[in-house]
């Protein structure tokens, strides 16, 4: 008898072999592409970078602040996730730790741009997170306690995929409105995501956490749930700045 479990020691080969992993990733990427199309059609206040003539500076600054806050909050729960991941797959935990190492201080990049947008660090510290951000962080806690770390890692895959796909165009628009110097932090952040292949890195961790067909179905469901939570944030910030009439949330 050996009562010692949850060590990640008895693992075999990954459920998805290298080819199956590539094919399933293509399926997930196609699903995210559909979600992006839905997002663009239904979620308000996502096109600020195209609004050169009526760019809302206070809303832009508030968005930067929320991004930095979100990074600060999620890095805590994502660090907790490492211990849960290590119990299942030390290989995934290693990749996840490397990813967190890359991401851990990325709030600073957004805070640098926030200062250039006119919000001091002291003012930033007085900003409370939106309810949608609190719910997102709370959802992560729920996932770790009751469903496992797959959902936490799935969130990062969604965010990294979308960032690499959409951020360059967004930054191009912001550069035309604000100038390159004002968005240097965001440009540096985008470089990191792309040059370190963060989507590939996170997928590498996800692959080790998919151990049955139900996990594949769960991953798809998590992507939908995170899209709904992130859309809530855009509704919230839109309502604060009354940019446009809120349409249906995706």
């Amino acid at each position: 008898m050996n009562r010692c479990i949850n060590t990640g020691l008895g693992r075999g080969k990954p459920y998805l072999n290298p080819v199956q992993s590539v094919l399933f990733r293509q399926e997930i990427d196609a699903l995210i592409e559909n979600q992006i199309a839905e997002w663009n059609a239904n979620v308000p206040a996502t096109d600020q970078h195209h609004r050169k003539n009526d760019f809302n500076h206070p809303m832009y600054a508030r968005g930067l602040a929320e991004t930095a806050i979100r990074i600060r909050l999620l890095r805590v729960i994502e660090s907790k996730a490492i211990s849960d991941i290590a119990k299942l797959s030390p290989e995934a935990a290693k990749i996840w730790a490397e990813y967190e190492c890359d991401e851990m201080l990325h709030d600073e990049m957004f805070i640098q741009d926030l200062e250039k947008a006119g919000t001091s660090r002291e003012e930033f510290l007085q900003i409370e997170p939106y309810m949608s951000t609190k719910l997102l962080v709370g959802f992560f806690s729920y996932l770790l306690d009751h469903e496992g770390p797959l959902g936490v890692v799935a969130y990062s895959y969604l965010v990294e995929y979308v960032n690499v796909k959409l951020e360059p165009e967004k930054l191009k628009g912001l550069e035309a409105i604000l100038g390159k110097d004002k968005i240097a932090g965001q440009i540096a952040h985008s470089h990191t995501d792309i040059n370190h292949d963060h989507p590939g890195m996170v997928w590498g961790a996800l692959r080790y956490l998919i151990n049955k067909e139900e996990d594949k179905a769960a991953l798809k469901k998590y992507l939908r749930e995170f899209q709904d939570l992130l859309a809530m944030y855009f509704v919230e910030i839109n309502n604060e700045f009354k940019l446009e009439k809120v349409k249906a949330v995706a």
Binding site: P14, N17, S21
Partner: protein, 95 residues
């Protein structure tokens, strides 16, 4: 897209998807490449690339320095855990 990896020391031929890490070979044939740290710092996974060196991701300076310290200074030696695959190669996993 799949790329062919010929293991010259064991006369095996395996395939991995584009951009795979070479250490993924161990999932196809257990023990084919010994590895430990997967971070390029232990030296367990030294291989000799006999053909197709250009089909692997380039070695970072830190990898070259470490390989040199292990006595594998020439370009054809690599740490498998630091290699991403972009085309067909032939390797000796027991240099």
């Amino acid at each position: 897209m799949l790329h062919t990896i010929v293991l010259t020391n064991s006369a095996e031929t395996l395939q991995l998807p584009d951009k795979s890490k070479l250490t993924d070979l161990s999932e196809l044939a257990e023990g084919v490449i010994p590895f430990s740290c997967l971070s390029g710092i232990c030296g367990s996974c030294v291989i000799e690339v006999e053909c197709g060196l250009e089909n692997l991701s380039e070695a970072e300076p830190v990898e070259r320095t470490f390989l040199t310290s292990l006595g594998f200074a020439e370009d054809q030696y690599r740490l498998a855990c630091q290699c991403k695959l972009f085309g067909p190669i032939s390797i000796n996993t027991e240099p």
